[in-house]
C-alpha cells in the first residue's frame, strides 16, 4: 500500500520552554508544579507572551487520578495559569503523555485552527508509597496478561535487558555506564532531581559513614560501587536501583506558534520540522525483544517529514526510563546499528563531548522522571542547547542546528519523536 508523504499543513515553531525543578516536593501539587513551569517558560519568550494570545492548552499527565486522587486536571491547569475558558485537553499515553501532547499541539496549529498553543506536562508521584507507585506504573503495561503474572514496569525492561545481553553479549557493566554518563550530565543541571555524579554520590556515602562512626565502605570506582548490592540493590535483575529513573514530582511547559508568527515572539525560534508517532504490542508479542517497533515507526515518520537522516542529528534527548531503554532507543533511532549502542556508550560517543551527545540534561535517570511531564521536559533541554543557553552543560564545539527528542510510553506501547531545527 503506497501512501502520500505526510507533511504538516503549515510550519510550527517553538518560542519558549521552561520547567519546574524536578524532585520530591511534599507540599506541592501537580498544579503548583505546573504554575512553576509556566512561569519558567514565559521568561524564555524573548519578546514576551500575553496570556490573552494563548488559544488552547494540551497537557500530558499519566495518572493524577491514582497519584493524587485528582482526575480531569486539564481545566485546573488552565485555570491556574489564567486560560479559562479556553479549551484545555489532557493527554494520557503513560510516560509519553506530554510527548504526545506536543504532537497534538503541533497538529492543532498545523491544521490552521490555532496560532498559539501552550503544551505542558505535570506529574506528582511522591505522595504514594513505593509499592503503590509500582502498582500504578505497572498498570501502564498490559494489566490483563503481563501484570497478572507478576511483571512490573522495571521487570519488563529488565526482561528486554536479558534478551539484549543474550543477543549481543552486553554485560551489566554496560548498563551501569549509561547511568554514570547521564549522572555526569545531570550534575551540571540545577533543575535535576539528582544533580550529582555517581562518583559524588559514592563519596557522599563514604563521608556519611565516617561522620556516623560506622564501618567505612571501600569502593575502588563507580563501577565497584554500582556492583555492591548494599549501595545499589536489585530492583528487577539485571536492573538495579541506579539503572532505574527515580520517582519524581515535576512539570514542564513549552509555547508553540504558527511558523510565520515566530518572529513576533522570539529572536531565536526553534522550528519543529518532523513529528512521528507509533504503537507496539505487549512485550511477548514482539518479534524482536531488543527493539521497540513504536520507536522505529515514529523515527521513520519524523525523519521522512524533516528530510533528514539519523547521522544529521547533532544531539538528542531519548527516553532512558531504564539504562537498557537508552541503549535500545539510540539503536531504534538509527544512531547506532543494532547491538552497537553499548559499545558506543563505552567508547564515550554518547557523552556530552562525544560525537553524538545523548541526554545532556541528565536524562530521566538523573534529571528525574515525572512521567507525564517528561516528554515536554526533554524539549526544555533541546531549547537551551540549541540556543547555546545550557550553561556549564552546553555541548562543546557544536553549532547545534538539528536535534531530536524521543519519548516512550511505558514499555514501548507508544513512542513519539520530534525533530528540531534552528535556522
Amino acid at each position: 500500500m503506497s501512501r502520500r508523504a505526510r507533511r504538516l499543513g503549515r510550519g510550527v515553531a517553538l518560542v519558549g520552554a521552561g520547567m519546574s525543578k524536578f524532585g520530591a516536593f511534599a507540599d506541592k501539587t501537580s498544579r503548583d508544579l505546573f504554575v512553576d513551569a509556566f512561569n519558567a517558560m514565559t521568561k524564555t519568550v524573548d519578546k514576551g507572551v500575553d496570556t490573552e494570545d494563548i488559544e488552547a492548552l494540551y497537557v500530558g499527565n499519566y495518572s493524577s487520578d491514582l497519584f493524587e486522587g485528582q482526575g480531569h486536571i486539564a481545566p485546573i491547569m488552565a485555570d491556574w495559569v489564567g486560560l479559562v475558558p479556553k479549551p484545555a485537553t489532557r493527554v494520557e499515553d503513560a510516560c509519553a503523555s506530554s510527548g504526545v501532547a506536543i504532537r497534538e499541539g503541533i497538529l492543532a496549529i498545523a491544521s490552521g485552527l490555532y496560532d498559539t498553543v501552550l503544551v505542558g506536562g505535570t506529574e506528582k508521584m511522591t505522595n504514594l508509597p513505593t509499592e503503590q507507585v509500582t502498582d500504578t506504573l505497572a498498570s501502564a503495561s498490559d494489566a490483563v496478561y503481563e501484570g497478572a503474572c507478576g511483571f512490573t514496569f522495571p521487570g519488563l525492561y529488565a526482561a528486554m535487558a536479558t534478551a539484549y545481553m543474550a543477543k549481543y553479549g552486553a554485560s551489566v557493566e554496560h548498563f551501569m555506564k549509561v547511568g554514570i554518563k547521564n549522572h555526569n550530565n545531570g550534575a551540571l543541571n540545577p533543575k535535576a532531581q539528582f544533580n550529582r555524579s555517581i562518583k559524588d554520590l559514592m563519596n557522599a556515602r563514604i563521608e556519611k559513614a565516617k561522620q556516623k562512626g560506622e564501618p567505612v565502605p571501600y569502593w575502588r570506582d563507580e563501577l565497584e560501587f554500582l556492583k555492591d548490592p548494599r549501595a545499589n540493590p536489585v530492583v528487577a535483575w539485571p536492573m538495579r536501583l541506579f539503572d532505574c529513573s527515580p520517582i519524581t514530582d515535576g512539570a514542564a511547559c513549552i509555547l508553540l506558534v504558527a511558523e510565520d508568527l515566530a518572529g513576533d515572539f522570539s529572536d531565536n525560534p526553534i522550528y519543529i520540522i518532523g513529528t512521528g508517532q507509533g504503537s507496539d504490542h505487549a512485550l511477548n508479542e514482539r518479534k524482536d525483544l531488543t527493539s521497540i517497533l513504536a520507536s522505529r515507526t515514529a523515527a521513520k515518520q519524523a525523519y521522512e517529514m524533516a528530510g533528514v537522516k539519523p547521522e544529521d542529528i547533532q544531539i538528542a534527548e531519548v527516553h532512558d526510563c531504564f539504562t537498557i531503554a537508552e541503549l535500545m532507543a539510540i539503536e531504534d533511532l538509527g544512531f547506532f546499528k543494532p547491538g552497537e549502542a553499548f559499545k558506543a556508550t563505552e567508547r564515550g560517543l554518547t557523552a556530552r563531548d562525544g560525537a553524538k551527545p545523548i541526554n545532556t540534561s541528565g536524562g530521566l535517570k538523573s534529571k528525574g522522571h515525572p512521567v507525564g511531564a517528561s516528554g515536554v521536559g526533554q524539549v526544555v533541554e533541546i531549547w537551551h542547547q540549541m540556543r547555546g543557553e545550557a550553561g556549564p552543560r552546553q555541548v562543546p564545539g557544536k553549532d547545534i542546528r538539528l536535534a531530536l527528542t524521543h519519548n516512550v510510553g511505558a514499555t514501548g506501547g507508544t513512542c513519539v519523536v520530534h525533530i528540531y531545527q534552528r535556522r
Partner: protein
C-alpha cells in the same frame, strides 16, 4: 480442536483453570495469537479458532523481581525472596508471558536465555485467577 468460546480474556483464563494453554488462530491466514486475539492483525480477518499449545518452549527473556506489585508481596515475595517472570517462546511460534519456576531466582546471573521450559498452571488462589507459569524441563 474447536471450542465454542468467545475469544476473550475470560475464556483464556477459564482454559488455564482447565490446565489448557489456548491460542487463537486465524482461519484465513493461520496466524497464531497468544493471548487470544479476536481479530487477526496480519490479514484483519475475524474468523478465529482455538488451538491448544503443547506448552513446550524456551526462555526468551526474564527477570528476577525484587520489588514486586502488592499481590506478590502478599504471596510472600520480597527483596530477599525474589520471583522469576519471563517471556517464553513456544515451539508453535508464539511467545507468552508467565511466571518461571524451578530456577534459582536468587542467582539470576546463572539463568540462561534459551533454557527449555514446560508450561505449568499456577494454582488458583482465593479471589485470583489461575495464570501461566513455566518450569524448567
Amino acid at each position: 480442536m474447536t471450542e465454542e468460546r468467545e475469544f476473550d480474556s475470560a475464556s483464556f483464563y477459564r482454559f488455564l483453570a482447565e490446565k489448557k494453554l489456548m491460542a487463537s488462530r486465524c482461519k484465513k491466514c493461520q496466524e497464531l495469537y497468544l493471548p487470544p486475539h479476536p481479530i487477526c492483525s496480519k490479514c484483519h480477518g475475524n474468523d478465529m479458532e482455538w488451538v491448544e499449545m503443547k506448552g513446550k518452549g524456551r526462555l526468551a527473556a526474564f527477570t528476577a523481581v525484587a520489588v514486586g506489585p502488592s499481590f506478590t508481596i502478599e504471596e510472600g515475595y520480597d527483596r530477599d525472596n525474589p520471583y522469576l517472570v519471563g517471556v517464553v517462546e513456544l515451539e508453535e511460534g508464539p511467545k507468552v508471558s508467565g511466571r518461571i519456576r524451578g530456577l534459582d531466582a536468587r542467582k539470576p546471573e546463572g539463568i540462561k536465555v534459551g533454557t527449555p521450559l514446560t508450561v505449568e498452571f499456577m494454582e488458583q488462589e482465593e479471589g485470583r485467577r489461575c495464570f501461566v507459569a513455566f518450569k524448567a524441563r
